[in-house]
Assembly symmetry: C2
Homo-oligomer: 355 residues x 2
DNA sequence: CTGAAAGCGCTTACAG
DNA sequence: CTGAAAGCGCTTACAG
């Protein structure tokens, strides 16, 4: 019942091990006839290449890079720290994963970073992408070098990457809308929306999804035009305070982007029973705390840790030339105050543990 | 920068390869003095054992078993089919995973199954457990044989297993309660609860969590005593039809167990705008369809595919004697009609694809 | 175009 | 208690 090896195949095909190897690894320089014989033997015996053995003999080390936006951003800090906590573990599987900072969210920064990592011997890179054709040149250069590219959290143009690991932001926005809608229990209301910027594709997607559902299924709810906050907590706070004084009739608040600190500060001053229903994104120490204390109601979390783990295994599969383990698409987790991780700080930090 | 090998360690310790091997693998028969020298060299060089090489030379094959309840159950069918779809993929990593049917949910069936798989050469087994001390004997026997045991979906007594892969059902019940509560928008109401049986620990846990939150945070909501349905759709349907005729003032329905077909049939007859708010568990073709058509509102899904994948990697880590990849606890996904998998039937079935 | 041989980092008899 | 040697399934020069 044990798997046939390459030498079984070679034998059965009547050629040498080296020749069989040449055809299964497409190294060329093999007579048409030999190729055919080997191919036949392969299927006849049901040959399955032993990747572990191949990697051992080749001394393969998976060199991976994660291109993450620089700057003070709790979300990417969490990704960085998870990656860091994983490194000892990954080393045992001959995987090295390096986080590389990219300047701002601007195309220029990403472009130069992509160019800079060429010729550095990376086998795969996960990049927090941008929808810009300007990225075409540097990425194609990498691909020519045999580097595998995937989009992480925010996608690249589809034709430039082999996979996207992240959530469907339109669906996330729709989900937020549904839950906000449901929270009105059939009563009418007015929803106020905050977003980081119109540039950010993920924000635009969430907004589109949100509108779609509210307009279709909740005619009793009015939606204010989104206010841009640049993800700045101070801006968020000022905006929320101004609009929530009671005279505007706001019954729900949806923060599409970051800057939750400001939202939470503003909400904490209100009476829980009378404040608007609040939905935000990403479970962080502050949003977790706010949920526990009833300052906000729902957090839609994309699970950065899981995204990183998934990116890692997809990249490895790509490099090994095989399909990744079948797994369902990533769907964000909805947190309420009742399903929070046992010890929030611990849960956030446990990544830094090693084994 | 490359990792030191065992022969580096042996060299540096001034002993033979074989001796170094004996101490790192605790095979015994080594002089105290040699042991010390090797140990010192190990830490000095920062030796990391290459598991892949070890497995290759040992021709290790991971033989795993999944003990799943028999009988017509869509949930476990889905687990079985996912497992089946994975097998080609797993084979490439020298992993074989066999699903083994266990009679009913009774302790007796599980006990005899656990006894039956002893001496069969399994390295690890994931079992849909039961909280019964009767399982102690057969499990301890397996453990003595070096078999690693984990609980899947439903836990075993803690001291009998190395890990539990599944959701926190109390938290799931609390989440259901929160969302049901929120859906009333501050208005009062009455909630009707259906459960499979009082025996099932997961049902009991969900119920407890549900009560906890409603009682604490939603004094305006009354909760009927749970009705036991034996997870039978016919029973569920009859019960729902009886209670939803309008005269009972039911504003929400929570089905803790299975038998959703009955719930959906009953709901489909009602006007979406006036039917009670409906929450159930597990995304299946029927619940997915019901969500899309507005017959129910929320599905709390534990993600059996992800559970299986996780069980696999935890089992492998256990067998290799290392800690699993750090990953957050499993939290169920909340589905509404707006965040359903792209093609539901496809998504359910894609497991059967091979690579 | 083809083949024989050494080596990847480990384990497993086997002989002292 | 210790060591030399073959072998796991592959890849990589190297020699024809």
């Amino acid at each position: 019942m044990k798997n046939p090896t390459l030498s079984d195949v070679a034998h059965s095909a009547g050629v040498s091990y080296a020749t069989a190897d040449r055809v299964i690894n497409k190294r060329g320089n093999v007579a048409e006839k030999s190729t055919r014989k080997v191919r036949d033997a392969m299927v006849a015996l049901g040959y399955v290449r032993n990747v572990a053995a191949a990697n051992l003999s080749r001394k393969r080390i998976y060199r991976l890079a994660f291109l993450l936006p620089n700057g003070p951003n709790a979300f990417y800090d969490r990704i960085r720290s998870h990656l860091h906590g994983l490194s000892a573990h990954l080393a045992k599987d001959q995987i090295s994963a390096t986080a590389i900072g990219v300047d701002a969210f601007a195309v220029g920064g990403l472009k130069s970073c992509l160019s800079a990592i060429a010729d550095q011997g990376f086998d795969g890179v996960a990049v927090v992408g941008l929808q810009s054709t300007e990225l075409e040149a540097p990425i194609e250069r990498l691909v020519e070098q045999g580097v595998h590219i995937i989009g992480l959290v925010s996608d690249l143009p589809k034709h430039l990457r082999s996979a996207y690991i992240g959530i469907d932001n339109v669906a996330a926005g729709r989900t937020a809308a549904r839950l906000v809608g449901v929270s009105h229990g059939g009563q009418s209301g007015r929803i106020h929306i905050l977003a980081g910027s119109t540039e950010a594709h993920d924000h635009a997607d969430r907004l589109a999804g949100f509108y779609e559902v509210i307009r279709r299924d909740f005619p009793n709810l009015a939606v204010n035009d989104p206010v841009m906050t640049c993800d700045d907590p101070t801006v968020v706070k000022a905006e929320v305070e101004q609009v929530v004084d009671g005279s505007c009739g706001i019954t729900a608040l949806y923060n599409i982007g970051a800057g939750n600190g400001g939202l939470i500060d503003a909400m904490a001053q209100l009476n829980e029973a009378h404040r608007p229903f609040c939905v935000t994104h990403e479970l962080m120490p502050d949003t977790c705390h706010a949920l526990q204390h009833g300052h906000i109601d729902l957090v839609i979390d994309q699970g950065p840790d899981v995204e990183v783990n998934r990116a890692l295994s997809v990249l490895k599969a790509l490099i090994d030339g095989r399909s990744p383990l079948p797994a369902p698409d990533l769907v964000p987790t909805i947190y309420v105050r009742d399903n929070l991780p046992a010890d929030p700080t611990l849960a956030m930090m446990k990544d830094t543990s090693h084994d």
